[in-house]
């Protein structure tokens, strides 16, 4: 049975004269946890942006559940959630309002309105913020007043609250202290939550720099100059692979 959830067919992306992604072919199966490795400027962020539809590829096609991404409706597209490297939170909104923004896809305009007026329910937002070890004293604080680590966790909570099937994350462990990294990694990659307090994304593609965080991933993809150099099981990763991309 074909359980491919995401497929990239011959994807290229050109910005001005630079070829950022060069004929990328990739299949991601349901439940796979994939680490994306590569040095800065190798095309990791662009690849994530192409997959979530933010950037249109110059060439090639992205398929989600065997259907062209372009042809999917809004609800289907919302099955992908992204944690951006630069977080992309709304600075003037409070932490809980930002997390609630993750619920915009499944709610109507009135919910967005209530969220901005601070009269919507923040129960679900608080649950995910708590899971991300955010203290309740910062729930109503504006994003601009939070520390880097707190902002990072708000962005993660906003992504988790979407309860999407596919997670795309670009350096999600930046700004986090080592203890928190383990907690957040478990939150993002756990297949099944024992306490049923949250739904973890089943499939994940996570761009990383730190090799010591690879142990929970099934596969590793190495990217350099916009090309995939290897796409292997984590256990098969050797030094020679890393030398190719770094």
């Amino acid at each position: 049975m074909n359980n491919t959830v995401l497929e990239l067919e011959n994807i290229s992306y050109k910005y001005k004269d630079d070829l950022i992604l060069n004929k990328i072919n990739l299949k991601i199966n349901s439940g796979e946890k994939i680490a994306l490795l590569g040095k800065s400027g190798s095309g990791k962020t662009t690849l994530i942006s192409v997959i979530n539809g933010t950037i249109k590829p110059t060439q090639g096609e992205v398929k989600l559940f065997n259907e062209s991404f372009e042809e999917l409706d809004r609800k289907q597209k919302s099955k992908i959630t992204t944690i951006w490297q630069d977080l992309r939170l709304i600075e003037d909104l409070s932490a809980e309002q930002n997390v609630n923004c993750g619920l915009l896809a499944e709610n109507n305009f009135y919910f967005a309105f209530k969220n901005l007026l601070n009269i919507s329910s923040f129960k679900k937002a608080h649950k995910y913020m708590k899971l991300c070890r955010l203290h309740n004293s910062i729930y109503d604080k504006k994003i601009r007043k939070l520390s880097g680590g707190q902002k990072q966790r708000v962005a993660i909570a906003r992504s988790l609250i979407q309860e999407s099937n596919i997670l795309l994350a670009d350096e999600p462990f930046n700004n986090l202290d080592p203890k928190l990294i383990t907690t957040i990694k478990n939150l993002l990659l756990e297949n099944a939550d024992k306490n049923k307090t949250k739904k973890s994304p089943k499939t994940a593609l996570v761009a990383l720099h730190r090799l010591d965080l690879l142990n929970d991933f099934d596969k590793v993809i190495g990217i350099r100059d916009g090309k995939i150099f290897f796409n292997i099981k984590r256990n098969n990763l050797k030094k020679i692979h890393l030398e190719k991309i770094y």
């Binding site: 809004r74 951006w84 896809a105 919910f111 901005l116």
Partner: protein
């Protein structure tokens, strides 16, 4: 020989050179017989008429002014926000609307904005006659476009990455739009809304001078009858209104986290929209359409305006704008720099306040008592009024500036004036010039008012053509006037961008 190098400080002073041709023409046009009248005008400032009868008139007229000002502000700020959203790029990105429509909307608003409220007022009065609502509509038309520009500029500062992030959540498009624009809209309203109310009241006063009602009409009537004591009663009461409203505005703080207050504002928002639409429909269906016949003869009527005369009027308007801008830019730093002591500062501030307070037509009419109508006199009027406004900004910025450089320079034995120039003003020059570039947009629009009163430029021609129902001329004048304002706005936009 060393090359002359221009910096922001010197650029702030060079425009004062406009005073040379201006002064020459003014001296040649002096009418010494009128000085007595001018003297009487000045003396009356210290002896305004105060009795029960005039106090009742003042209260009635101020009430009219506040009502017109407030309603036109309320409608223009709300519709300004709506049009601001429609004319911002974020709207077109979210709804995937081609950029072509964005440019169309912007261009349309630029044209509407380029025509001064007085011109709209005169036009509407000619068509519909004088009534309370004409004042509101005349102010609302350009103000909606002006406010929309401010809102759109703020909305365009929204980080594109925030847009991508919200867009990626795949929320309904209206939810995404609302979430992104909410805070920029609220912040613009907080920073800019109350200032626009003050502008609205000032515009009501100016429109009053042209017969729309309110305190402006009383000012004009008392000037026409040379009743200066009465005139000053109205001017001082207007001053009290502006000072009081300024003090009240400072006290008002919008707390957007207060749920009841937020719901109140939203209710006002929707009620205003509903009321405006209802009124618009009422206005359309209860208007005497016979008046439109004169407008429909627009293309039938012939124009007596020759090409040479028309070009002369255009060049007069451009010269008028340039001369006024020169005065508005350079006069405040020059005067503040020369008379740089605490006592002089107080006098300059009072004088600047009076220049802001007294409507430009009244300043011009006063100056006309001892000088013949000319471009220079109109330019002096417009320049002085706007210098009152630019000096307020300059004083505010200078007062809040760190004075360590100035003190350090003085302690080195450098003269007070040079220390002020290099230690204080030089740090403000760039932002001051950027504000002046914005101000010159307004000056171009205001040439219409002084034109009507001072018999110069397109403003005067507009009045003439309207009086003789020469609608083709009116159209020509409006197109020319609008074109000058649009070109001016484009040039000033470039200057502003290079300064900020």
């Amino acid at each position: 020989m060393n090359k002359l190098k221009l910096n922001y400080t010197s650029l702030s002073f060079i425009p004062i050179l406009v005073c040379i041709p201006l002064g020459y023409q003014l001296i040649n046009n002096i009418n010494f017989g009128g000085f007595k009248l001018f003297q009487e005008f000045l003396i009356s400032a210290f002896n305004p008429k105060i009795d029960n009868e005039i106090i009742i008139i003042v209260i009635k007229r101020l009430n009219e002014t506040i009502s017109i000002g407030f309603f036109s502000w309320l409608v223009s700020i709300i519709f300004g926000a709506i049009f601001g959203i429609i004319s911002s790029n974020i709207f077109y990105k979210i709804f995937n609307i081609p950029n072509f429509f964005y440019h169309i909307v912007r261009f349309f608003l630029t044209i509407i904005r380029s025509i001064h409220e007085v011109v709209w007022g005169i036009l509407l009065m000619q068509i519909y006659g004088i009534n309370f609502s004409i004042g509101i509509i005349a102010i609302c038309i350009p103000y909606i476009a002006v406010n929309s520009k401010v809102f759109a500029e703020q909305l365009e500062t929204i980080d594109y990455k925030s847009f991508e992030s919200i867009n990626q959540i795949n929320a309904p498009k209206f939810s995404s739009l609302l979430t992104l624009i909410w805070n920029p809209i609220i912040n613009t309203f907080k920073n800019f809304g109350l200032y626009r109310l003050e502008c609205s009241i000032r515009s009501t006063v100016i429109l009053g001078l042209f017969g729309i009602g309110g305190i402006g009409t009383s000012i004009f009537l008392s000037f026409q009858t040379l009743n200066f004591r009465e005139l000053w009663t109205y001017l001082w009461s207007l001053a009290i209104l502006i000072i009081l409203s300024g003090l009240i505005f400072k006290k008002i703080k919008f707390n957007t986290t207060n749920k009841i207050l937020s719901i109140f504002f939203i209710s006002v928002f929707f009620i205003t929209i509903l009321f405006s639409f209802s009124y618009f429909l009422y206005f359309i269906f209860n208007t005497n359409f016979e008046n439109f016949n004169s407008v429909s003869s627009l293309f039938k009527s012939s124009s007596d305006l020759g090409l040479f005369d028309f070009l002369k009027l255009i060049s007069e308007t451009i010269i008028l704008s340039l001369l006024s801008t020169g005065i508005a830019i350079s006069l405040p730093p020059l005067v503040i720099g020369i008379f740089n002591n605490n006592t002089s500062k107080i006098f300059i501030k009072i004088f600047a306040f009076l220049l802001r307070l007294i409507p430009t037509p009244v300043i011009l009419l006063t100056l006309l008592t001892f000088n013949n109508p000319s471009v220079s006199l109109a330019a002096l009027t417009l320049g002085l009024h706007n210098a009152g406004i630019t000096s307020k900004l300059l004083f505010t910025n200078l007062d809040s500036q760190d004075k360590r450089n100035y003190i350090a320079m003085k302690s080195l034995g450098i003269s007070k004036k040079t220390s002020w120039l290099l230690g204080l003003f030089s740090q403000q020059a760039k932002s001051y010039l950027a504000y002046c570039a914005y101000r010159s947009d307004i000056i171009i629009r205001e040439t219409a008012i002084v034109g009507v009163i001072g018999s110069v430029g397109l403003g005067w021609q507009l009045q003439e053509s309207l009086s003789s129902f020469a609608w083709q001329e009116v159209t020509l004048v409006l197109i020319a006037y609008s074109s000058i304002a649009i070109v001016g706005e484009l040039i000033n936009g470039k200057i502003k961008n290079s300064l900020t």
